[in-house]
């Protein structure tokens, strides 16, 4: 009962479009059982797991792309009794993969969390979701209730908890603070959560998809994991595709896949496209030919791009890029925790300048000011929020140089007042109850 190597779907195996969520039996039928980790085998299991994750080359799927083995090692080396936190908040509005996993394949996530907890000797597991998506919490709770591992004596204490909403809801230190009963705002580091986190113990915090990936690697091994994807971007990952595509939704793709294939998997382009936004509201714009654009995070970062938490958005040519960017930055400025001056005032300044470009009488120097402020705010907050907005705005100035120059000279264009395509209307929590993805999930075949 193993998944075929070099074949997709993996994470989304068994999730045919519109199918019910996988219960424990269905989950086991597809993925098999996990190997039990006993007290006797604990330290060996920990070393084996960390080694296997390291060989697999797994990186965090929450946006940071931090090497997972290194984070596991950091928590393991601290000693004591650590805690495990699964981030299922998905504060990025364009992303849907986390809630898809949580509601349709919760047992894969629980496999990963239980494996990590057992290997690290953790006594406490918390799955965190935001209040906007209460359905996620309900599904995770129901799945956890059916797990026999949690019913035995000596099992770790697993809870599903809601934390405040917001773009920063999943920020590592803000999340830990919320779970500790404090204000849900990012904390100045050090100390990092791996040193002092939930209840002041070393805490392994990672994105829900990362745990699903860990579950697969623990079962099938690093070689199996690397049978798909490229040398630099091994394995598969979930990508939320949105914008001008025929079937927006979540796709599972091999690492290093070309953007063109991702767009095809989402039904192909539905209208002419001006540019691609990779990485979401805190991501980067690009006009590189999708057929040549490899979605390999290492390569992307070398050219100043990022896939973030797996996001590809195709901006229709009918939209005004300057107005879209202005709307997103205005939203992001509002999502600032307001703690750090450069973020609080800098994002507001950038948002104001972008708004001026879409108004009647711009000064004309807004692009230079935006670039200046983008540099000024980067790296100067307690978290990476200002950095994200800075690269989002700066990459837009580069990619849409022509449109920006026109706006700087003439102000608003006739398309400026169209309803925004990047900023959807606020989803109601009711819609998240039944089908969190809102659309069908499609898996892309391997190479």
């Amino acid at each position: 009962m193993t998944l075929d190597a070099a074949e997709l779907p993996r994470l989304l195996a068994g999730l045919a479009a519109g199918a019910k969520p996988l219960d424990l039996d269905a989950h086991r039928a597809i993925f098999g059982d996990t190997l039990p980790i006993t007290r006797r085998t604990l330290s060996r299991a920990r070393e084996q797991l960390i080694a296997e994750i390291g060989r697999a080359g797994l990186t965090g799927k929450g946006g940071g792309s931090f090497p997972t083995a290194r984070k596991l090692r950091a928590v393991a080396d601290r000693g004591g009794t650590p805690a495990v936190v699964v981030t299922a908040t998905e504060g990025e509005p364009l992303s849907r993969k986390d809630r898809l996993l949580a509601t349709r394949a919760p047992h894969l996530v629980l496999d990963g969390a239980l494996t990590v907890a057992a290997a690290l000797g953790a006594r406490r597991i918390v799955l965190a979701h935001d209040r906007l998506h209460l359905g996620v919490g309900g599904r995770l709770r129901a799945a956890a209730a059916s797990r026999p591992e949690l019913a035995v004596r000596g099992a770790p204490d697993l809870t599903v908890q809601a934390v405040p909403d917001g773009y920063l809801s999943g920020q590592e230190t803000a999340l830990v603070a919320a779970l500790n009963g404090r204000r849900a705002v990012p904390a100045f580091t050090p100390p990092y959560p791996f040193e002092r986190g939930l209840g002041r113990v070393p805490t392994f915090v990672s994105n829900i998809e990362t745990y699903a990936q860990i579950a697969l690697i623990a079962r099938y091994g690093a070689a199996w994991y690397r049978a798909v994807g490229t040398e630099q971007a091994p394995g598969s990952r979930l990508v939320t595709v949105g914008g001008a595509v025929a079937s927006p939704g979540v796709v599972e793709v091999p690492g290093g896949v070309r953007a063109a294939e991702v767009l095809v998997a989402a039904g192909g382009l539905s209208e002419p496209v001006a540019a691609l936004l990779l990485g979401g509201y805190g991501g980067t714009w690009t006009r590189v030919d999708p057929a040549a654009l490899e979605l390999d995070e290492v390569r992307l970062r070398a050219t100043g791009l990022t896939l973030g938490p797996g996001l590809v958005f195709a901006l229709p040519a009918s939209a005004c890029p300057v107005a879209e960017v202005a709307a997103v930055v205005r939203f992001m400025a509002g999502e600032s925790a307001g703690q750090c001056g450069p973020c609080r005032f800098g994002l507001e300044a950038i948002a104001g300048a972008l708004q001026d470009l879409c108004a009647d009488d711009p000064r004309g120097d807004e692009p230079q000011q935006i670039r200046r402020w983008a540099t000024m705010v980067s790296g100067r907050g307690a978290c990476a929020h200002p950095d994200g907005v800075a690269r989002f705005a700066a990459s837009a100035l580069t990619v849409f140089a022509g449109e920006v120059a026109d706006h700087a000279r003439y102000g608003r264009c006739e398309r400026c007042d169209q309803p925004s395509v990047l900023l959807p209307s606020r989803p109601s929590s009711a819609s998240s109850l039944v089908d969190a993805a809102g659309t069908d999930a499609i898996a892309l075949g391997g190479q």
Partner: protein
């Protein structure tokens, strides 16, 4: 103690009493200035010629100077044979026999001031949160000192003392008004959308 022996006798007593009152009033003036600077915050007071670190240093040094005058004020009153005030009465409020309420307020103001100063000297050890909490006691020590001034002295009803005290009070109240009315850029309205912690 020969200086005090020389001061004993009616003219000596007068000298000690003048010294007590003079240093007391000076201490009140200095503490009022310190309080005004503290309320206003260096950012409202500083100019190009008098930068913030200077105003901050002035705030601290005026407080130290006030303490010097306070020490003389207290020493003269304890050593004064005319009134029965002991060293204990000076630091423990309301136990003295001489005008216990008004003297006690003076002792209380002294205690609060000492707490503020010691915590400031040890700020790195104490940590910012604790230091800040103690520093708020300063807002208590000043009105207590004013009450002590008005209640304790035999020239409380004398015009000049009332005028000086009134100047101090007006200065501090004005500082409070300015503080409440003006907002520094760093304290501007928080942006909408701070992670909402609604239940």
């Amino acid at each position: 103690m020969s200086a005090f022996a020389a001061l004993s006798g009616s003219s000596g007593d007068q000298a000690l009493w003048y010294l007590t009152r003079g240093t007391g009033v000076t201490a009140l003036l200095l503490l009022s200035a310190v309080t005004v600077l503290g309320i206003l915050d260096v950012r409202r007071v500083a100019t190009a010629r008098y930068p913030r670190f200077l105003i901050d240093a002035a705030h601290q040094r005026l407080a130290a100077l006030a303490l010097v005058f306070l020490v003389i004020h207290i020493a003269t009153v304890v050593l004064d044979p005319f009134v029965a005030i002991s060293w204990l009465d000076v630091v423990v409020p309301f136990v003295g026999s001489y005008r216990p309420v008004w003297l006690g307020l003076g002792a209380l103001a002294l205690d609060l001031l000492l707490a503020v100063m010691v915590s400031s000297l040890l700020r790195a050890r104490v940590g910012y949160r604790a230091w800040r909490a103690i520093h708020w006691l300063a807002y208590a020590s000043w009105p207590v000192a004013v009450a002590h001034t008005l209640g304790i002295g035999t020239d409380a009803s004398t015009g000049w003392l009332l005028i000086v005290t009134a100047i101090c009070v007006v200065a501090v109240l004005t500082a409070v008004a300015v503080r409440v009315a003006t907002r520094l850029q760093g304290r501007a309205r928080k942006p909408v959308g701070v992670i909402r912690d609604d239940a």
